[in-house]
């Protein structure tokens, strides 16, 4: 026999009163600077992540996704919001997208970028196009081994967002939207489980979808069989870029570009001294580049070769943005280096070999040849990528 208990009417009123008092602090949670998360407060939100298949051109290599950060629709959507949300910076004034805008192929088209304190960074923002393929270190000096690691860094960089992850995570925990999204993406049970690592994973997922459309003029010409798409100058540029004159049976010099910007992705992902600075010894570089990571003396003044896809949209050029135009870039390479000891040998052999020179010197490129290279580089422009609605600011 079950015991039953009926609450007297007067006691109901007392119970309601105290319950209301107890609920008041809960309503104030968002304003409480040091609230305590309720255990399991997100458990009622469904967690059914949908696997996300990255769209890539058929002629592009497969994209490797870390086993501990599988792609999900919810993860990508969360990462996209975090990427565009100034909540990450100390004064909520800048986001990742402040330096990596779609229209600049995820650069800001500045030589160097300013952080929240108005201080210029030391290097130019790199394009994030096809960043999912980068396996040999991110940033110009390769100091970060993965997208998940890279995504953590700008938040605490004093010349970028100048914040602390502790503060960011607190803001995310008590934001009206993000806890739900973290639950949907990663299955956390309560907001106390939001971490910087999960935020970085989400942003890495978003960055992995920043893949070329495969519809650039170059892609259509080279990989989709539209053989008559290039004009004569673009074709000459293509041949010189790829050291293909012998194969094509034409008399054109080698511009040596593809050795560092080769493959389907147009980047070697390696580190080079590309002859920017004439210094008397390797310690003379203003920016020591890759050396700061490896501490290997011969890496001084070396930087990662970026992708040339969408290079027309990502001016200015080089790690310090010193060249405003592609013409300036090609002019630089046509000078055949400066003679610094760890310069890449390819930038010493641009043009035709000069007959009778010993050791062999090279002519560089004529103005018309340089123009042809620039015209070819512009065939790498991929407007379908920069206009892709899936990668735009979700807050607009």
């Amino acid at each position: 026999m079950r015991a039953s208990y009926q609450i007297p009417k007067r006691n109901w009123l007392i119970l309601c009163f105290f319950s209301t008092i107890a609920l008041v602090p809960a309503c104030n949670k968002d304003n409480n600077p040091n609230p305590t998360p309720t255990k399991g407060d997100l458990e009622d939100i469904p967690y059914n992540p949908q696997a996300y298949t990255i769209v890539k051109p058929a002629h592009f290599p497969e994209i490797e996704v870390p086993k501990d950060n599988p792609m999900t629709l919810e993860g990508v959507q969360l990462g996209r919001r975090l990427f565009y949300d100034p909540i990450l910076s100390a004064d909520s004034s800048i986001s990742c997208a402040s330096c990596h805008l779609p229209k600049g192929s995820f650069t800001d088209n500045k030589a160097t970028s300013k952080g929240i304190d108005g201080i210029n960074g030391r290097r130019s923002a790199m394009s994030l196009l096809n960043v999912a393929y980068v396996k040999n270190g991110l940033f110009w000096d390769g100091r970060s081994p993965s997208l998940e690691d890279q995504a953590l860094r700008p938040v605490e960089d004093p010349v970028e967002m100048h914040n602390s992850w502790t503060k960011v995570v607190e803001k995310l925990k008590w934001n009206k939207d993000y806890p739900t999204r973290f639950r949907q993406a990663f299955g956390i049970n309560d907001r106390s489980e939001i971490t910087k690592e999960l935020a970085a994973k989400a942003m890495a997922q978003f960055e992995r979808i920043l893949i070329s459309s495969g519809n650039s003029k170059y892609d259509r010409f080279k990989f989709k069989g539209e053989n008559n798409l290039f004009d004569d100058e673009e074709l000459d540029g293509f041949i010189m870029f790829n050291d293909d004159a012998l194969n094509q049976g034409v008399n054109l010099p080698d511009a040596q570009c593809f050795h560092c910007h080769g493959g389907i992705l147009n980047t070697g992902n390696n580190y080079f001294n590309n002859g920017l600075d004439s210094v008397s010894n390797l310690d003379g570089f203003k920016d020591l580049g890759r050396y700061l990571v490896t501490t290997n003396n011969s890496d001084k003044g070396k930087f990662r070769a970026p992708t040339l896809r969408n290079i027309e949209l990502s001016a200015p050029y080089m790690h310090d943005g010193r060249f405003k135009t592609l013409e300036e870039v090609v002019d630089h390479y046509s000078k055949n280096g400066t003679g610094v000891s760890n310069e890449d040998p390819f930038i010493r052999q641009i043009g035709y070999p000069i007959q009778g020179s010993n050791p062999i010197k090279y002519t560089g490129l004529t103005p018309h040849q340089k123009q042809s290279i620039v015209k070819f580089l512009k065939t790498l422009t991929d407007t379908d990528f920069v206009n892709n609605p899936d990668i735009q600011n979700p807050f607009n």
Binding site: G268, N296, Q349, Y362
Partner: protein, 257 residues
């Protein structure tokens, strides 16, 4: 009495069966097989930007890059072949090294039948059937996924990269630059090395050494002229130069276990 005999017979039969198992073990058992690839110059471990004497006048030569694809690294036992590695990409001068000393590249291949093999066969470069494909045809786990090492113009992987600079007139200025990037199915080479190699038991790691100096010593014993033939690009003789270099790997490779 007869039960005792029967028991003894049964035990003997079991022992014989056990002995038979032991005898067949060398054919059925598998073990790890360890290979270490090393790059040298004149028998010494290769160091980037180290001055090596080169040519008749022993001018200083510095190497800055050495990479190599291998295909079908195969253990031989008479006519039997055991492929231990279908494809390998060896980067002896990786960008993430903290020193200029060339890397020793260690590989362990699991489940290789134990025994003593008579030799090893190595394909230098990427075999034509694989070279007809491109990085998009291979999974990320494959060395042939490496888009950085694919030459779109020639529709080929770059089988071997050797880069160097020299001061041929010994005036203190490094003014000749060497770029030997070899590719194209025509220059793919296979060499067989006869030497006992043991897998299993306490077998030591097998070292495969590549000596860069031997790649540039011609058949008549003279040094290859790096000044007049500085590269495989920008060069009408590029195929010949690439073929010469790839063809020397037979002499430039030594094994030890």
């Amino acid at each position: 009495m007869s039960l005792r005999i029967l028991t003894m017979l049964l035990c003997s039969a079991l022992l014989i069966a056990a002995c038979k198992d032991d005898e067949t073990k060398p054919n059925g058992a598998v073990s790890d097989f360890k290979l270490t690839f090393k790059s040298n110059y004149n028998g010494e471990r290769l160091i980037k930007y180290h001055q090596y004497p080169y040519g008749a006048n022993a001018y200083p030569l510095e190497f800055s890059r050495f990479t190599l694809f291998l295909t079908d690294v195969t253990l031989l036992n008479g006519t039997q072949e055991t492929v231990v590695a279908p494809s390998l990409y060896l980067d002896f001068t990786p960008d993430n090294a903290s020193s200029d000393t060339s890397a020793y590249l260690n590989y362990t291949f699991a489940n290789i039948p134990e025994g003593t093999y008579t030799g090893i066969k190595i394909g230098y470069g990427v075999k034509p059937s694989d070279n007809a494909k491109n990085p998009a045809d291979f999974p990320p786990s494959s060395p042939l996924y490496n888009d950085n090492e694919y030459w779109l113009g020639w529709k080929s992987y770059i089988f071997c990269k050797i880069e160097a600079q020299g001061d041929s007139d010994k005036d203190g200025v490094y003014d000749h630059f060497n770029i030997y990037h070899c590719g194209g199915s025509l220059v793919y080479k296979t060499f067989t090395f006869t030497q006992p190699i043991t897998v299993g038991g306490n077998a030591k790691t097998t070292n495969v050494n590549f000596d860069l100096r031997k790649l540039f010593i011609m058949d008549d014993g003279r040094y290859y002229n790096m000044v007049t033939s500085p590269s495989t690009s920008n060069n009408k003789d590029s195929l010949r130069v690439a073929n010469d270099i790839m063809g020397k790997f037979g002499k430039a490779t030594t094994l030890e276990q």
